[in-house]
């Protein structure tokens, strides 16, 4: 029955074999409701006098709204309320503003221009869904069609139309740059030393999550001036806070009920249906349903963002990857939603599960006139993993190696320093490759069949941060002004170097937008609520515990985004050496370099979660 197979021989001495549930058939706790049709999805709540809300949407990729004539629609039977831009109390938001990440860039109802097909410009509330549809069809919008851009690299050109007024350069801002940088070692020098250079370009399309239940919400006035909202959301408190912000309403006045999601896969975190339904309920004083139909789900519903990756590998004759560079373009569509974070997550993942001593990446989050992208199952990682794994096969072919041998040879092992400057732990790629080879009947080299993730890593060069070449290319706006050098990343245009072993620099977060967003550090176990850290130059001893840890950005993968010319760092001992005494001094503080241990409080994470499998 079960196709799960346990390989308990792997890491046998590191794991207590106390799996009581995994691998055994179990009955879902919610399945009785599913098979009897009684599970209450958001639309399975009946309200007397329920009104239906539908949107007038843009038929153009990019257009300015000259005027909207809804006089005929307003007179149609059953129409209760026309919802205009001026009815939205705070008509600008970005999802991650709740984490203080990015500027508000997206209106709930577009005020002046639309930037993708299906962007709402007006909403109509009527007694029945049919009357709402008829009224929507009777609205006349005068459009001034603007030139649009649908390709990520076209959007970076100096003359490309500007998609989003808040980010006029068509790129999200990462520090002073228009892209997320990752620098580790010196890729250009390593490319010169390489025997083979393997290049490739990989592109994936946007993917619609297509849940069976379309996105929607029902909101209704409750007693005591509150509003109840039944919603399909995957992120209930995210949706609640977003609604409170857009409605300029205390969140205590909102009563959100969710928890039954008719399939989501990431497509139900965007929190754009809940504010609409609550807005309707506020304006009419009656229960209002805002539900996408299937066409809206496919056209307006945010997909997994498309990614384009260019990868360049430098290989030695014996199959080692000594350098890997990436140029990535993440298609965010017209608004940020979660793409800014997807890029950071993807960059932190580079260069994949391999030990490569020289890595560089420039990753762009690009605005285009396409449907805004959002979460979907590993977004930011899946696209680049697809590219990396295709490229691994290409590399194996170039050096004439069995691909599985090639993977094992380059696989990361416990203790190896990764490009994001943390040591790898709990690595298992080698074992996966060995099992796969066995299953597929592939012959691998005898020493690879004997290899282990536990052995051979974490020593010498593999464990240290190399001297790293940095550059200042790609500052915000440079691309538009056409004063950019052609080389996309480091190399001859490099202007700075960071000494080997220099891992940590204090990262100073932007101040919170609102006072109530400020984080009370004491809550997370920081007993010394010090003044916020100022940007520090490299010191010989990297601080084991940043004095102002901001949980929002636990691992900014741009380690060199600090001072333009790093001060000449004194010769340093390897990063691992000074850690131990520091850690002891700091006691229970948050130590990013250290593996999580039982009982250590990590910001924002339950103390009951620990990572003690392998220390």
């Amino acid at each position: 029955m079960s196709s799960i197979e346990f390989r308990k021989d792997l890491f046998a001495d590191e794991r207590s074999d106390n799996l009581n549930e995994i691998g055994k058939p179990t009955i879902r706790q919610d399945i009785l409701g599913h098979v009897t049709g009684r599970t209450p999805f958001y639309d399975d709540h009946l309200f007397d006098g329920l009104l239906h809300m539908r949107c007038v949407r843009s038929p153009h990729h990019h257009a300015r709204i000259r005027s909207i004539d809804f006089s005929a629609a307003g007179r149609m039977p059953g129409v209760v309320r026309i919802v205009e831009v001026k009815d939205v109390p705070h008509n600008l938001n970005t999802l991650l503003s709740l984490l203080n990440f990015g500027r508000d860039d997206e209106p709930l109802i577009a005020p002046q221009k639309v930037a993708y097909i299906g962007e709402p410009v007006l909403a109509i509330i009527a007694e029945t869904e049919r009357q709402a549809r008829d009224a929507v069809a009777a609205v006349r919008v005068s459009w001034e069609v603007l030139p649009h851009v649908l390709d990520v690299e076209e959007a970076l050109k100096p003359n490309a139309p500007s998609v989003n007024d808040i980010y006029p350069n068509n790129t999200f801002d990462y520090g002073p740059y228009d892209h997320q940088k990752l620098r580790f070692g010196d890729v250009e020098r390593a490319f010169q030393q390489a025997d083979h250079i393997v290049e490739g370009e990989y592109q994936m399309s946007p993917i619609e999550q297509a849940p069976m239940e379309t996105c929607g919400a029902i909101a209704a006035p409750e007693t005591n001036d509150r509003y109840v909202c039944h919603t399909s959301t995957q992120a209930l408190f995210f949706s609640l806070s977003t609604t409170a912000k857009l409605m300029n309403m205390a969140s205590s006045r909102l009563h959100f009920i969710g928890g039954t999601v008719g399939g989501g896969f990431g497509g139900k975190v965007d929190s754009i249906v809940e504010p609409m339904a609550v807005l309707g309920a506020v304006l009419t004083g009656r229960p209002v349903k805002f539900m996408w139909d299937r066409e809206e789900e496919m056209q307006v519903g945010a997909p997994r963002g498309a990614e384009r990756w260019r990868i360049k590998d430098g290989l030695t004759r014996d199959g080692r990857i000594i350098a890997r560079s990436f140029t990535g373009f993440f298609d965010a569509g017209a608004y940020i939603r979660l793409s800014s974070y997807a890029v950071q997550k993807g960059t932190g993942h580079l260069p994949g599960p391999y030990s490569i001593p020289n890595v560089a990446a420039n990753v762009f989050m690009v605005f285009t006139n396409r449907t805004p992208a959002t979460a979907m199952r590993g977004f930011g990682i899946t696209g680049v993993d697809f590219a990396i794994e295709c490229h691994m096969d290409k590399g194996a072919e170039a050096v004439g190696m069995n691909p599985i041998d090639f993977h094992i040879l380059n696989a990361y092992r416990d203790g190896d320093m990764k490009a994001h400057r943390r040591a790898a732990k709990n690595a298992a790629l080698i074992e996966c490759c060995q099992v796969t080879a066995g299953k597929a009947g592939w012959r691998i080299a005898p020493d690879h069949a004997q290899a282990s993730s536990l052995i051979g890593g974490g020593a010498g060069e593999r464990a240290t941060i190399p001297e790293t070449v940095t550059d200042q290319i790609g500052r915000i706006g440079e691309r538009r002004r056409e004063n950019l050098p052609t080389a996309p990343y480091a190399g001859s245009t490099a202007r700075g170097r960071v000494a080997a072993g220099a891992a940590k620099q204090a990262v100073v977060a932007a101040p919170p937008q609102h006072e109530d967003m400020a984080v009370d550090l004491a809550r997370f176990g920081f007993s010394k609520p010090q003044a916020r850290a100022t940007r520090q130059p490299h010191s010989a001893v990297p601080p084991a515990s940043p004095s102002s840890p901001r949980p929002q950005q636990p691992a900014p993968p741009a380690p060199q985004s600090s001072s333009p010319v790093p001060p000449p760092a004194p010769p340093q001992t390897p990063a691992s050496a000074p850690r131990a005494p520091q850690a002891a001094e700091q006691g229970q503080g948050y130590r990013p370099e250290e593996p999580f241990q039982q009982g250590i409080k990590r910001p924002g994470v339950s103390r009951f979660i620990s990572g003690t499998r392998r220390r």
Binding site: I27, I31, L32, V35, T39, P40, P211, V261, G262, R294
Partner: protein
């Protein structure tokens, strides 16, 4: 708007309602009758979440005019169990982990019931054919097909 009286048997009970002319059976079942077990998935007859049985035959209720069930027998997942006893299909779905989000399940169960009612010993191919009009996005079809075969009293007949 003109409303038409419609009388039909809903899950074994005589039901009389007024349906707006032109309204579809799905809306009427959900909003007028109050049987929330059939679900809206696409409104275009492509996904099968709204399948109900009309005189024992599976029909897409989102594309069926409510008026057309006058005098007929309409069965939904809400009436599948017999008092406290679950239908064998329901038990098999529970034990076979054949639902995750549960949104497609009512339609799947109805399509499966129509099959088993007319063919109590279907082959795997016949089961696949019977639910070919139903989409599922989470579970995958294998556990569903297995459950239907289990309910039919067969071993799951999984081909390796």
């Amino acid at each position: 708007m003109a409303k038409k009286p419609v009388r039909f048997t809903h899950n074994g009970r005589e039901t009389a309602i007024f349906a707006e002319s032109g309204s579809n059976l799905l809306d009427v079942l959900r909003r007028v009758v109050g049987d929330l077990s059939p679900k809206y998935g696409c409104g275009q007859g492509t996904c099968g979440t709204c399948i109900v049985l009309i005189d024992g035959e599976p029909h897409l209720s989102c594309l069926t005019l409510a008026e057309t069930v006058e005098g007929r027998k309409v069965d939904t997942t809400g009436g599948l169990q017999n008092g406290p006893d679950l239908h064998p299909l329901q038990k098999a779905f529970m034990e076979g982990f054949s639902a995750q989000c549960g949104y497609c399940t009512p339609g799947m169960l109805m399509a499966a019931k129509a099959l088993l009612d007319r063919n109590p010993r279907p082959t795997r191919e016949e089961v696949v054919e019977a639910i070919s009009g139903n989409l599922c996005r989470c579970t995958g079809y294998d556990p569903i097909v297995d459950a239907i075969l289990d309910a039919a009293g067969q071993t799951s007949g999984r081909v390796a």
